[in-house]
């Protein structure tokens, strides 16, 4: 990496992989702020992790339901196809009649909202709307088989609507879980380490400053001491370096100045 001196701030700049720290002036207040931020990030991380866990649990449950229901659906459809074949046998080919008489659907869907760990999932529900368009179909020939056919396909529709709900939830959850996990990883591997590096930087700087202060103080003290010593020495020694004799010195006359 390269070190750059910039406006008195030392900024360590390494490439890409985010081995960086936040750009703050190293002070005790900044350190306190970083502490708070770290706490926040850690709390956010654990909350998101909990959300991801809850969603993943629900996700697996739904997947199991889908597999269960799809297997069942295979069976029901077989039954339905069979009853259709029977009806065709009795009533002849009535498919064109059915297709040409389509008008309004009798079976419609409501969308309800379900909520899991803050994620809204749609739930489909069938309801009957209006009369049976084919109420009079096949009364002459094979009416019974056609009714049976209607019934079986009706059953299939209910099952398929449940399946559709599961599948929609599945797809939605898949997406949300991916996003949540990405965020969890981002906090864990980028944001928190970055804050920790910043805190380390600040503490190192503060320590360094303290040492410098201490050193400077010491130096000043030493200098002062030296000066004082020199002063002391000067007072105790005369010009020809003989010890001082107060009787030989002329004191200032206090009374008769």
């Amino acid at each position: 990496g390269s070190m750059r001196e910039r406006c008195g701030l030392r900024v360590l700049n390494l490439k890409m992989s985010g081995k960086d720290r936040l750009n703050v002036f190293p002070s005790r207040m900044a350190l306190a702020q970083m502490k708070i931020r770290l706490k926040g990030a850690q709390k956010g991380h654990s909350l998101l992790k909990k959300k991801s866990d809850a969603l993943t649990l629900r996700f697996r449950q739904i997947l199991r339901k889908i597999i269960e229901t799809k297997t069942l659906m295979g069976e029901v459809m077989k039954e339905a196809q069979f009853s259709l074949a029977e009806a065709n046998f009795s009533a002849g080919d009535f498919s064109s009649t059915v297709i040409q008489n389509v008008d309004k659907a009798q079976v419609k869907l409501h969308t309800k909202k379900d909520n899991v760990a803050g994620v809204t999932l749609p739930v489909f529900q069938t309801y009957n709307d209006g009369a049976d368009t084919y109420g009079l179909a096949g009364l002459s020939r094979g009416g019974q088989q056609i009714s049976k056919c209607k019934e079986v396909f009706g059953k299939a529709v209910l099952l398929l609507v449940d399946l559709a709900s599961f599948q929609t939830s599945f797809v939605t959850l898949d997406e949300v879980i991916k996003i949540t996990n990405r965020r969890v990883n981002a906090i864990e591997h980028v944001i928190i380490p970055r804050i920790q590096r910043t805190m380390k930087y600040i503490t190192t700087e503060l320590d360094e400053r303290e040492r410098e202060e201490f050193y400077r103080l010491k130096k000043i003290q030493e200098k002062k001491k030296k000066l004082r010593k020199q002063e002391e020495m000067k007072k105790n020694v005369t010009e020809d370096n003989k010890p001082r004799n107060i009787f030989e010195e002329q004191d200032e006359d206090i009374l008769f100045k």
Binding site: K70, G74, K104, Y134, I146, L160, A164, V171
Partner: protein, 120 residues
């Protein structure tokens, strides 16, 4: 204004499948006389199926699209990329083609989370 209710099921399938579900009561022509079902036969082209799939999945009044698995195979590329939660696309067996879970686009997305034994 989107209604919470009043959504339809759509079918893209062989004649038998369509007939059956229409009998079941899901068929409707909307105000523009557009149907919510599409009969696929030997003459039907891949692009026709693609168009129908795109149309059905963009209609706001359709919540579920049923499609025979063998027809789904014709537009497998579209299904594998399909990411909308609604409408839900369900692959169903047809008269001559039983349901094969390994081909289902939705289940393939969850590959690795379960194995074939779960279907036995």
């Amino acid at each position: 204004m989107t209604m919470k209710g009043g959504k339809l099921l759509a079918v893209i399938g062989e004649e038998d499948t369509c007939t059956g579900f229409l009998l079941g009561g899901i068929g409707e022509l909307n105000s523009k006389r557009q149907p919510n079902f599409f009969v696929v036969d030997k003459e039907t082209t891949v692009s026709e199926v693609e168009e129908t799939f795109k149309t059905f999945t963009s209609r706001p009044d359709i919540a579920v699209v049923l499609i025979n698995q063998n027809v789904a195979d014709m537009i497998r590329h579209l299904l594998d990329r399909y990411e909308q939660p609604i409408p839900s696309v369900l692959e169903i067996p047809s008269k001559d083609h039983p349901y094969d879970p390994t081909k289902d686009s939705i289940l393939r997305r969850a590959k690795g989370m379960f194995n074939a034994e779960d279907f036995r």
